[in-house]
Symmetry: C3
């Protein structure tokens, strides 16, 4: 039986400075989890945008996130490359990248802390900035 | 302490009309969440197929989902392009796309509603139709 | 009201034999779920590495996972192809693949069993092996 179960909903604002960038939001998420006082549970992150996403990748060498974002620019070019995009806003590439990295992520909470590997950072993936973006966070547990 | 916690399992059927298509299932998922009467919680969606997936993308301009599906056809061609697929069923492209968009998605429930952005729709991603597909939904919360 | 709710954290070790391989860990995950005695709930899988991931795909014809891993090698070459990677460890391709397949997965538990389709297996995705890897599993439910 649980008598200290809780669920909490929070919103985070992220200002993205460029069209394509991975913004490290690990500290913001860690703070929200710490403040929730949940010991065992889950932190769900959800991005309510269709030209952005959420991912986890290396937080140590800043070249890694640059390689990821720049390689995706070549793999899925804004121009469409061989393919002529029908959507007239010029951001179909961003919609495709959004579906590939995905809008949601679950991170485990164990012994009161987010369970992340040594090199893992939580990254807001902007594919059509600069914009003011929102991230929803739900912390659930006991 | 929670005394109105619940967990509910549902199944949805999706009939896909083409080999590759994103089918908007937002209304079906919303109805299931509404009927569950969960106020704060999560709606988990799981696709039990290896040549399909689940994604979220724009529900406004229908050109967006067409661009996504058509661009993926060029990026990961059914023929394999430079690469000769070993799997003899002729649908290795669909298996690859399934792993890239993923089989599962968590959508937050807050104040009795699915938390989705203005332009977000929940899309069943068919990569090897037309078929009769299944989607499992679990609504959990209080 | 729930009086038999539980949450349990486990760790699994996976030894990967090659640089790029999908390793089927379904039996290990099934055993953990069975031992938890959870009847209705969720099994969360989280990979704490930035050059690996977790995915679900076909467990029947072994050619499928070979096609997936080999096609990704051409799509996202270790050399970078047209793009010169800045990260000096020679594994930027693995970081990109990790963000595309993702580090986490939720699998539903219904009637005491993992809900998986007939052909679905849970695969640890190694993109920069051989290595000794860790997988975190959280089983939650009633």
């Amino acid at each position: 039986m649980i008598d200290n179960y809780m669920i909490k909903f929070e919103e985070l604002r992220v200002k993205t400075p460029k069209r394509e960038i991975l913004v490290n939001i690990t500290d913001d998420i860690s703070r929200i989890v710490r403040n929730s006082a949940v010991n065992e549970g889950v932190c769900r992150i959800f991005v309510p945008h269709t030209t952005a996403g959420i991912t986890i990748n290396e937080n140590a060498d800043p070249a890694v996130v640059i390689d990821i974002i720049n390689f995706l620019k070549i793999l899925i070019p804004q121009s469409g490359g061989q393919y002529s995009f029908r959507h007239r806003e010029g951001n179909s590439d961003a919609h495709i990248k959004s579906s590939l990295t995905g809008p949601s992520l679950d991170i485990l909470i164990h012994n009161g802390k987010l369970v992340l590997g040594t090199w893992q950072g939580i990254m807001f993936a902007e594919y059509d900035g600069p914009r003011n973006r929102r991230v929803f966070i739900q912390v659930q547990g006991e």
